[in-house]
Structures are given as structure tokens and as C-alpha cells.
């Protein structure tokens, strides 16, 4: 009886891992590439093209039944290709080409001409819909398309590499349309100028899309790149981005494609033209024809000037109210000798600010902060700075921009300009009313959502390090010095309940910087004091011991160390981790070890960075002492 029960229990305890019969195995599910080519009856280049367009990639079977070094595709994928209309279409096109050559060979020019004109065409619309059934799917996969389109927008149309100029044009157009949309919705979040190019992070429909654009310089087409592959990708991405742009414009209630101002287009200011078109003609800043036309033609729109005036008035009012409140406070202090902070000051200011700003409905907090960052600031871009990038960034963060060149909305000598972006060693004529800053200032401000002090970024200086906004410094283990400074500045800016962008930035920044520096100094001093105290303490201890007839602390320690290590290994304290580690299964143990290894590697990297920092600091200190 007991035995029967035991057997039953045995059966219950055992896990049965027997494969069921009739289930298709790997050999039925997967197919090698060559077999797939045979089944599809096409050549390899055609197959590649179809795979790229259709988004089909090889898969990894559990058992590679035809050898390790073969590429395997899922049978379903290949069958999917087999029923693709594009496959039939490409065959048709090939047959058609033959007809044309035949007509030409027979000197039947009429027919050849007619055939040439009525070539069958194809679109990739159905593939876009098939691969991305809903809009959010398309947005999720937008990183590669955007990078590719922005690259093609800067490529030279080249016949030797068969990069057709139509493709370059349409890519440029699409990229500009995208940028115009981002500017309009203020959805640019982060910018990072790297050696490779400029990274932009955009938030569209709740998805964060990070893409890379090359520096706008002449690209040299490398010889070892197969441009057919790139062009096939570009072809699909172009269609995809076109539809995405349509949807985005549609969601804003705008017409697609937007209409470009031909004059601006000629002046190579297409982005500005697009932005203007999107803005819907409300701020119809006419072109700057000549200098004389400036006065009567009012280059800055009426709205903008009004807003500026308002801002000025607002500042005055705020200053007045603050002064009044300050005096009131003093009197209160004198009378009651009590510290009573009037809570309503910032609130008042804030409400005022809210009234002035146009409030857009269903706008999240981040978009609002982005939109207001450069509000009331006016920028002028020098010839030597990357115009399109800066135009994109500044407009996305709510600033007004003009530039040195044709089609600029207002000239350099306009008085509303608060910041001039320059990147040259010296500047001949300087307006006293503006800050002459390097382009990095704009990017850093945008990344940190505060107006940083302009002083370190001024003309001719080496700017502070440009930090990547994509890095979580705390998680990484090392916080660069400048990141710390920025953090303090941000905190300080947040403590000021009502930030007034632009208005008193100069004063604020100065104060902030001074405060930050003072705090750091204090920190350093405190540390020094602590060290001194510790040293003193140990010295006193030693004295006491000496008096008592014992040896110095150092010696004693040394003496104590030696026999211990010789006599017995120190009794190890049991680590509960060690115990638990024993109980891991082999797979988990390997995983655990791999994780530990990677963690230690990461730690070592951080250590190396910290070491480098320490060395650099030391060098600097030495230099300082030498100069002193």
C-alpha cells in the first residue's frame, strides 16, 4: 500500500519532458537562404531588396540542421515573400524593359518612346501599412529612418554611386518637414553635439526618438559601401516618413505637403520657410529686401514686438512690486522683529506670467517648459555657426532667430537681439546690449532647461565640457564636475519660484554662479578643517601614549599586524551571500558570475575615469601654484 502511494508520488514529482509526436521540427520551420532563393525563383540582389523592403530578417533555429555557417529564414517569411505583389511587379518591369530594348533594336522609335513613357510604376504604400499596422508602431521604429533620411539629405547626388538627385531632394524635403513639425509642437527634448554628428531626441506621441544627423559638411562617399543597399533602405524609409509626416501634419490640422516660399527656398532657408508655412501666416515676417526697407517694413512682426514690450512692462511692474514688498518687509521686521516671509510674492508674479503666456490646452509640463525656455529671447546667428541646427533648436525652445544671409527676418543691427551666436576667435564690432555666445550655450541651455550663465561661453573662450544628456551620471558612478555645477544652478533656479527667462538673466546668472562657487569653497574649507581636526586628534593621541611609555600608534599597528598574519589566517566572517551562492544551479551560477564580472568591469572603468580626473586636477593645481 505504502509502496503504491510512493510510486504515485514519484510519478507526480517527476517532470515529464517527452516531445509530442506530430509537431513540426526545425527542419520544417526553417529554410536556408539558397533554398529560399530557389523557391522564390529570384536572384540574390532581388531577394535582398525584397527582404529590406519587407522587413524580413534571418532567424536563429534552435538546431541548425544544415550546418552552422548558413543563414536560416523562417518558412512563413519566405512564403510571405512568395505572395508579395512586388515580386510579380519586378518581373513585369523586367519583361517591359526587354520590350523597350527590342523596339529600339528595330529602330521603332515611336514604340520605344511610347513604351518608355508608359513604364509600369510601383509604390511601397502597402508595405508601410503591412509592417506598421498602427501609427504608434511606425513611430516606435522611426530612429533608423530619421538617421538615414538626414544622412541622404546631406549627400551629394552622385552618378558614379548612382545616388539620384531626386532621392536627395526628397530626403531633404522630408527631413525639413519633420523638423518643422518638431519645432511647431516644441517636442525637441535633448540635443547632443558629438564628434559623429548631432543627436536629437524628440518626443512624438509619447515615444522618445533619438536620431543622429551628420555635421553639415561635404560627405565623402566611401568606396567600400554598397549604395544599392543604402538606397533600398532610403526608398522604404522615404515612403514611411512621408506617411508619418502626413499623419503628424494632419493631427495638427495642416495641409500636407506644406508650401514653400520660393524666395526663401532660393535663399537656402527652406527650414525657415516651412516653419513660416506651419505657423499659418500669423507671424508673417517679410523678407529682408534691403536695409532701407527695414524701418517701414517692420521686420519683426507686430506680435513679437508687442510681446517684447509687454515683457518689458512686466519686468518693470515686477521690480516695482518687489521693491514695495521689500520695504514693507523691512517695516514689518522693525515692528514685530519676526521673520515672516510674504508667501504671495512669487504667486503673484507667477499668475502674472501665466496671464501673459498663451496657455495651450492639453500640453504637458515638459512641452511647456521647453516652449518657454527661450521665450522673449532673440538670437542672431553668425555666418560660421551651423544655421539649420541652431534654427531648429532655438525655434523649438521658443526663441526668435535671424541669421547673417539672404532671407533673414531681421538684420544684425536690430536692437531686439539679445544673444548673438558666434564661433570665431574675435568679433570686430560688438553691440553692448547683447551676449556674444558660442553655439554650445544654446545646446546646453536646451538640455538643462535653464538659462546658464553666458560668461564661460563667451566669444573666444574655450567653453566648459559639453555633456551628454543621455547619461544618468549617478547610475554610471561618476558625476563630471560641470554636471554638478549645472545641477546646483538648476536647483537654485527651481528655488526661485517664478523664473523669469531672459529678463534678469544676467544678474541671476552672476548671483547663481557666485553662490555656487562660494558653496564649493565652503565645502572645500569644511573638508580641510575636518582633516586638520583628525590629524590633530591622532597627534594628541600619540603624545598621550608616549607619555604613558608606549610606542607610537603607527609602530604598534605594524607590530600587531605581523604576527597575526603569520600565526593564523584571520577568522572569516560568514557572508550570507557565499552561503546562498552555493545553492545556485549551474546556469544561474554562471549568470551570476557573468553579471559580477560585468559589474566589476564597469566599476573599473569608472575607477579609471576618476583616476584620470584626479591626475588632471593635480596638474592644474600644480600649474596654479607655479603661477602664484
Amino acid at each position: 500500500m505504502v509502496k503504491q502511494v510512493k510510486n504515485a508520488v514519484k510519478a507526480a514529482k517527476r517532470k515529464l519532458h517527452t516531445g509530442r509526436r506530430g509537431n513540426p521540427g526545425n527542419a520544417a520551420k526553417y529554410i536556408t537562404r539558397n533554398k529560399a532563393l530557389n523557391r522564390l525563383q529570384i536572384k540574390l540582389p532581388e531577394f535582398r531588396r525584397l527582404c529590406i523592403l519587407k522587413g524580413i530578417h534571418p532567424r536563429e533555429p534552435k538546431k541548425k540542421f544544415e550546418g552552422q555557417n548558413k543563414t536560416y529564414y523562417h518558412v512563413k517569411d519566405i512564403n510571405f515573400l512568395l505572395h508579395e505583389p512586388l515580386l510579380e511587379k519586378s518581373r513585369e518591369i523586367r519583361a517591359y524593359e526587354k520590350k523597350i530594348t527590342k523596339a529600339r533594336a528595330k529602330y521603332n522609335t515611336d514604340l520605344a518612346h511610347r513604351l518608355q513613357n508608359n513604364r509600369p510604376s510601383f509604390t511601397l504604400d502597402h508595405l508601410v501599412k503591412e509592417r506598421y499596422p498602427s501609427f504608434i508602431d511606425a513611430v516606435r521604429d522611426l530612429e533608423d529612418p530619421l538617421t538615414m533620411i538626414h544622412l541622404f539629405a546631406t549627400l551629394p547626388a552622385d552618378t558614379t554611386h548612382s545616388v539620384p538627385f531626386e532621392r536627395v531632394h526628397s530626403c531633404r524635403r522630408l527631413s525639413l518637414e519633420w523638423q518643422a513639425y518638431v519645432t511647431r509642437t516644441h517636442s525637441l527634448r535633448k540635443i547632443f553635439v558629438s564628434v559623429k554628428g548631432i543627436y536629437y531626441q524628440v518626443e512624438v506621441s509619447g515615444q522618445k526618438i533619438t536620431y543622429l544627423t551628420p555635421h553639415v559638411l561635404n560627405q565623402v562617399l566611401p568606396e567600400d559601401v554598397d549604395f544599392r543597399v543604402m538606397l533600398t533602405f532610403a526608398e522604404f524609409y522615404e515612403t514611411l516618413l512621408g506617411f508619418v509626416n502626413f499623419k503628424l501634419y494632419h493631427s495638427l490640422g495642416l495641409n500636407y505637403p506644406p508650401v514653400l516660399d520660393p524666395r526663401l527656398e532660393q535663399a537656402a532657408a527652406e527650414l525657415y520657410a516651412l516653419m513660416k508655412d506651419l505657423a499659418g501666416g500669423t507671424t508673417s515676417a517679410p523678407l529682408l529686401e534691403d536695409a532701407s526697407a527695414k524701418e517701414d517694413d517692420a521686420p519683426v512682426s507686430v506680435d513679437e514686438q508687442q510681446s517684447l514690450m509687454e515683457a518689458e512692462n512686466k519686468e518693470k511692474r515686477i521690480a516695482e512690486s518687489q521693491a514695495r514688498l521689500a520695504s514693507l518687509q523691512d517695516r514689518l521686521k522693525q515692528i514685530e522683529k519676526e521673520k515672516e516671509k510674504p508667501q504671495d510674492v512669487p504667486v503673484q508674479v507667477k499668475t502674472e506670467a501665466m496671464d501673459v503666456d498663451d496657455v495651450i490646452e492639453d500640453e504637458d509640463l515638459e512641452t511647456r517648459t521647453c516652449r518657454r525656455l527661450f521665450q522673449n529671447l532673440t538670437f542672431f546667428l553668425g555666418r560660421e555657426v551651423p544655421r539649420e541646427s541652431l534654427l531648429f533648436v532655438i525655434r523649438s525652445f521658443g526663441g526668435a532667430v535671424s541669421w547673417d544671409g539672404d532671407g533673414a527676418p531681421f538684420p544684425e543691427n536690430d536692437e531686439v537681439i539679445t544673444h548673438q551666436i558666434v564661433d570665431r576667435p574675435t568679433q570686430g564690432h560688438k553691440f553692448l546690449s547683447r551676449h556674444y555666445v558660442q553655439p554650445q550655450w544654446v545646446y546646453d541651455c536646451a538640455n538643462n532647461r535653464i538659462l546658464l550663465p553666458t560668461e564661460p561661453y563667451l566669444l573666444g573662450r574655450i567653453p566648459p565640457p559639453h555633456l551628454s544628456p543621455f547619461v544618468d551620471n549617478e547610475a554610471e558612478g561618476h558625476v563630471p564636475e560641470y554636471a554638478d555645477t549645472i545641477k546646483r544652478l538648476r536647483l537654485a533656479a527651481n528655488q526661485q519660484l517664478a523664473p523669469l527667462p531672459g529678463s534678469e538673466s544676467g544678474i541671476d546668472e552672476g548671483e547663481l554662479l557666485v553662490a555656487a562657487a562660494a558653496r564649493r569653497r565652503e565645502d572645500l574649507e569644511a573638508e580641510k578643517e575636518r582633516e586638520l581636526a583628525a590629524m590633530e586628534k591622532s597627534y594628541a593621541e600619540d603624545l598621550r601614549r608616549e607619555l604613558a611609555g608606549k610606542s607610537f600608534s603607527g609602530e604598534e599597528e605594524a607590530l600587531a599586524d605581523v604576527p597575526e598574519s603569520e600565526v593564523l589566517p584571520p577568522p572569516k566572517e560568514d557572508d550570507p551571500k557565499d552561503m546562498a551562492k552555493m545553492m545556485l544551479s549551474r546556469n544561474k551560477r554562471n549568470l551570476y558570475q557573468a553579471m559580477e564580472m560585468s559589474n566589476t568591469k564597469k566599476k573599473e572603468e569608472v575607477k579609471l575615469i576618476k583616476e584620470r580626473k584626479r591626475k588632471a586636477d593635480e596638474k592644474e593645481r600644480k600649474k596654479k601654484t607655479r603661477t602664484m
Partner: protein, 622 residues
């Protein structure tokens, strides 16, 4: 030059005209030459060009050289309208009228100004009153029926139009893009062909080091960059951070297109599989174990050391009452210790390296078995009261005999050991292990195998009298454990360990659970009800495990190894069959200077004896 040739042609064409039409408006001198209209090259090689009217030869003029002709030309202002007449071999000066003619011809007009090309037409046929056309033939039929070929052509065109081969007006251009998606925000996890959609992994976001102006600490020093050359190419960092003082100094990134191309290749050539990347704290992988504190008592600290052996202690065994401890050493001595005090009660010099010692588990009969080289010696440890001593004396006074007198070479021969006053059992080979039956009535010995493999025998059985629980013997071979049913005399089970080489074995007091220690530093727990494969394999030690042991009453087991440590585990076996045994590592005991060769639990207390190769025996208490 061009003019001259034109004139020349004109002149060549002229002579016959002049001859035929003498009434030209220009006054013409008759030609000197009378040869007529013949090719002039007939006279090419002659000294004359022809004959005059009188039949005299006309001599060719002397050829001027270039200099003379140039001088003539420059001297004569009228030279430009002189033309050489080849026929008469003379230069002719063109008249004003002739010049006018030439200029008119060159303008594409008629040569004579007085000729009117647009004179009214004068019909040469007089129509009036004639009544008949020129031809009187009847009109052909084809003039009245439509053309067959035209009809065929039209049919072709019509067909081409109908079939759309010819399109007369260009088709209207539809807008290329339209609203493709609605407002649904459903995320699709599958592709259209029903397979799971595996999105391409996103590119890594750039860190500070990729900045055009990175912080100083991210820029490697010269030495570091040089040291990269020594690395393997795969390990070498692909990107070396660099600092630029200003944005305008940043050059185009040469690898940009190549990197994007590589990304493209990855997208369509790389097999995609979903891999779980555990971005977790590695400690979360560790199993949640009950705290060792809650599982007390277990041995934690070294309480006593038994010193006296001069060689490595190879084996120990505790007396069933827990008062005495027996130890055998490589120095050829066997000692009996008092557990409580650490006093050495008795020393036997057995005269050979001791492999194994075992105390009889029957408390009524305290006899010890010692394996020394080829012999097993049964001795009286002289503990216990008088009655017990008498019993032992009786037992050990058995007449020496050979077990199988019929055969020529007896397996084992019994002898009386006079020196130690015990029984000596001589074997043919070295005896490596001796172990008692639970009740103390039987013991078994294991000789070193002829093949040199280390086989181990251990026996354990349920009490004989109960018929339903047959006695079992466990034999560990190198890789498997065989369980024999002694009552039926058959193999009942074979445990598959998966170990490299089994070194030791211990059986739980319940009889269903077994632990094995191996040379590969692995410890296996078998639940024999569950499977013939290990329930749990623990890799706890760093070196070979020498011995494992179960406690008789407490849920404790331990393993010792050459890595100087002894691990104590909590191993609870539940009476509920559905519940798996609970194994919790409790404590790692250190203290020996050399490898730990044997361990035994105290029979009643949660204490542990460890014997080390450093000739010390230690007692760990809770």
C-alpha cells in the same frame, strides 16, 4: 582663301557659258586658248597650255615663288579682286559688276539684279474653248473607296487606345501621401505573417566621451592610446574621445556613412532572436534561504582540539554513547580520546598506516575495527563496566580459523593478535575501509581493487527481522551508486550521479536520502524516492571533497575538503512525501592548516569532529 576658291569655281564654270551665250551684259574678251572643253590636266606635263587661233602654242607662264607673289600682292592694291584663270593661264581682274554678282550669290540671291523671280505666271496652254481635260482616262475605283491600310492602322490605334497602350493625356497625379493610419493606438506584437515581431535593437545612446568637447577625464592619455596598440584588435576601443576647442573645428566624421551602412547590414542580415537581458542586481538571483540563526543548533566554534598524533589523521569514529572518540593516523597509531576533556585514554601502535577506524554502533558491545594495511583488527577499547568487558573478552577469544578451509587460498584468514589482544583478519590486499552494520552484528570491509580504481563500499540496512524492509547495501563505483537488496540478492537500483569521481558517501537515518561527495568538489543529494538522478548538486568547495556525514538525530549534514574548510548544512527531510527536502548551508568551519580528511558528527549532540592532515582533531560545538 574661301573667296578665292568660290571665284575659281565660278571662273571654271564660265568659259563654255561665255561661248554659248555671247550676249552677256559684260564686255568679254575672247579666250586666247582654243583647246576647248577638255580636262586641263591633259596639259599638265606640257610646257604649253594650248593653242591660239593661229595654231601657235601658248606657253605657260613662269611660276612665281611665294615671296614674289606676296610682294606683287602687297604692291598691287587691286590684287584682292584678281582671279587666276587656269584655262588661259592668266590673272583676270574682276569688274565691279562681277563683284556685285558674287556678293549677290553669296547672299543667296539671284546673280543678276534685273531678273525678277516672281513674275506673274503666264500659262502656256490656251484653255478657252477646248472642252476637254488634258487626260481623258476614267477616275480609278480607289478614289471612291476608303483605304484598307488606313483602316488597318486605325484599328490598331483604336485597339491600343482601348487597351491603354496609348494614353492620350497624361494621368492625373494623385497625391503621393495620404492618411494611412487612424487614431487607434494599439501596439501590434505580431507581423502580418503571424510570427512574433522582433524589433531591431536600438543603437546605444552616446555617453560623455562622444562629445565634441568632453570632460578632461574622458580623454585617454597618450600612453593609454599607445597601449591600445598592444591589445587584440577586437578588444581595441573603436572610438577614441577627442577634444575640440570650438564647434567650428569639428570635422566631418569620416566613418559616418560606413557606420550607417553597417547598421543597415545588421538590420537585414543578422538573425534576430529575443534574448532576455537581465538588467537586475545579481544578488536578486540568489535564493531566499532561511536565516541560519533560526536553524540552530549547529556547530559553529572550535571547542576542543585533540592533539597527540604525529601524522595525518586519516579516519575518526565516535562511540555510540558519545563519550569516546577513536582516531587512526598515518603515523601507525590508533588513539581513543575522551570527548569531554580531550584526554587520550589509550594508544595502540598497530604498526602500519591506518586507513580506517570504526566503532561498533552497538552500545552493549564496544568493539573497534581498525583497517591497517592488509589487516582488519578488532580490539577492545576497554570502556564500559565489568559485564561489558566480560562479553568482549568472550567475543575476542574466538578460536582462530580460516573462513573457507575447503579452498586453497582463503579470502580472509582469522588470527589472534597477541600483542594487542584482539582478532586480526588478514586480507589479500590493502583494506581501505571498514564499516559496521547498524545493529553491530556484522561489519564489511573493502579492499583496494585489483584494477586500481577506488571503489567504496558502505552498508546500511533496515533491521533484519522486518520482512517488509529488506536490507540494502550501497556500493559506490566511480560514477554510479548501486543499491543491492541483500535479501533477494539482486540489484535494486542504480543511481546516476553525473559526478567525475565519487569520494565519499553518507546515508540519512531515514534511509531514503543519500549524499555523495566527489573529487570534482561537488556534493550531491539524492532523494531516492524522487529519482535516480540527484535532487540537488551543490558546488560548494574549491577542492576535492574527502568526507561527508549525516547527523543521526539532528537535521544536519557536513562535508569536508582539501581546501581546509568544512561546510555544515541543514538538511531537513520531511515525513510528508510531497515535500522536497530542505537544504540550507549554515556555516563554513575553518581552522585546519592542512586538508580535512574525515568528519563525524557526535551521536547525540549537534557537535562535529573534524580530522585534519595536520594531525589535529577538532571538536566544533554550537
Amino acid at each position: 582663301m574661301l573667296e578665292l576658291t568660290v571665284m575659281k569655281n565660278l571662273m571654271i564654270a564660265k568659259p563654255p557659258t561665255r561661248a554659248i551665250l555671247p550676249k552677256t551684259s559684260l564686255p568679254q574678251a575672247p579666250p586666247r586658248n582654243t583647246v576647248g572643253e577638255i580636262p586641263l590636266e591633259f596639259y599638265k606635263d606640257e610646257e604649253h597650255i594650248g593653242y591660239d587661233r593661229a595654231g601657235r602654242k601658248l606657253k605657260k607662264q613662269a611660276r612665281k615663288d611665294q615671296l614674289d607673289s606676296f610682294l606683287d600682292r602687297s604692291d598691287d592694291p587691286k590684287d584682292w579682286h584678281k582671279v587666276y584663270d587656269e584655262y588661259n593661264d592668266e590673272y583676270v581682274e574682276l569688274t565691279k559688276e562681277e563683284m556685285g554678282m558674287i556678293s549677290r550669290i553669296r547672299q543667296g540671291k539671284l546673280p543678276h539684279a534685273e531678273v525678277d523671280p516672281y513674275q506673274p505666271y503666264v500659262d502656256w496652254f490656251d484653255w478657252d474653248g477646248k472642252g476637254h481635260p488634258l487626260s481623258n482616262a476614267p477616275e480609278p475605283k480607289r478614289r471612291f473607296i476608303p483605304s484598307k491600310w488606313e483602316a488597318k492602322k486605325v484599328v490598331k490605334l483604336v485597339r491600343a487606345l482601348r487597351k491603354g497602350w496609348i494614353k492620350l493625356d497624361k494621368p492625373k497625379e494623385k497625391p503621393r501621401f495620404y492618411l494611412m493610419w487612424g487614431d487607434d493606438l494599439k501596439v501590434n506584437e505580431k507581423t502580418a505573417n503571424g510570427l512574433a515581431y522582433i524589433p531591431a535593437p536600438k543603437a546605444k545612446l552616446p555617453g560623455h566621451e562622444e562629445s565634441y568637447n568632453p570632460p578632461v577625464e574622458y580623454i585617454p592619455s597618450e600612453e593609454e592610446i599607445n597601449s591600445y596598440q598592444l591589445m587584440y584588435e577586437e578588444d581595441r576601443p573603436k572610438f577614441i574621445p577627442k577634444k575640440f576647442d570650438s564647434l567650428r573645428h569639428v570635422p566631418a566624421y569620416a566613418e559616418f556613412i560606413k557606420e550607417i551602412f553597417e547598421r543597415c547590414l545588421d538590420l537585414y542580415l543578422c538573425p534576430r532572436t529575443r534574448k532576455k537581458r537581465l538588467n537586475i542586481d545579481p544578488d536578486s538571483l540568489l535564493p531566499k534561504l532561511p536565516k541560519p540563526k533560526d536553524l540552530q543548533p549547529y556547530p559553529t566554534t572550535c571547542f576542543l582540539e585533540y592533539k597527540g598524533h604525529t601524522g595525518a589523521v586519516s579516519s575518526i569514529s565516535a562511540d555510540p554513547t558519545g563519550e569516546w572518540l577513536l582516531s587512526g593516523s598515518r603515523d601507525g597509531t590508533v588513539r581513543v580520546w575522551e570527548v569531554q576533556t580531550g584526554r587520550c585514554k589509550k594508544v595502540w601502535d598497530v604498526g602500519g598506516s591506518v586507513f580506517c577506524v570504526a566503532w561498533n554502533p552497538n552500545p552493549a558491545l564496544p568493539v573497534v575495527a581498525i583497517a591497517v594495511s592488509n589487516d582488519v583488527v578488532l580490539l577492545d577499547p576497554e570502556v564500559g563496566d565489568e559485564e561489558v568487558q566480560l562479553n568482549i573478552a568472550k567475543l575476542l577469544a574466538v578460536q582462530p580459523s580460516t573462513s573457507e578451509p575447503t579452498e586453497n587460498t582463503p579470502l580472509i584468514s582469522w588470527k589472534r593478535h597477541d600483542k594487542l589482544r584482539g582478532i586480526q583478519l588478514s586480507h589479500q590486499q590493502n583494506v581501505v575501509r571498514v564499516s559496521w552494520h547498524n545493529k553491530g552484528d556484522y561489519f564489511q570491509t573493502q579492499q583496494q581493487s585489483c584494477f586500481g580504481t577506488s571503489t567504496i563500499k558502505a552498508a546500511k540496512s533496515k533491521p533484519f527481522p522486518q520482512a517488509s524492509w529488506p536490507p540494502f547495501m550501497f556500493v559506490a563505483t566511480k560514477m554510479h551508486v548501486r543499491v543491492y537488496n541483500l535479501a533477494k540478492q539482486e540489484l535494486s537500483k542504480k543511481l546516476i550521479t553525473g559526478l567525475q569521481e565519487i569520494s565519499s558517501m553518507a546515508l540519512h537515518s531515514g534511509g531514503d536520502n543519500l549524499i555523495l561527495g566527489s573529487k570534482g568538489a561537488k556534493l550531491c543529494w539524492f532523494d531516492m524516492d524522487l529519482s535516480v538522478k540527484p535532487y540537488k548538486t551543490i558546488k560548494n568547495h574549491k577542492e576535492d571533497i574527502n568526507a561527508v556525514a549525516f547527523h543521526k538525530s539532528y537535521p544536519l549534514f557536513a562535508s569536508c575538503s582539501d581546501d581546509l574548510s568544512t561546510h555544515v548544512f541543514h538538511g531537513m527531510v520531511y515525513s510528508d512525501l510531497m515535500q522536497n527536502p530542505l537544504i540550507v548551508p549554515l556555516k563554513i568551519l575553518h581552522g585546519h592548516q592542512k586538508g580535512v580528511s574525515d568528519i563525524k558528527f557526535h551521536p547525540t549532540q549537534p557537535w562535529l569532529f573534524t580530522a585534519g592532515a595536520d594531525s589535529v582533531i577538532k571538536l566544533f560545538c554550537n
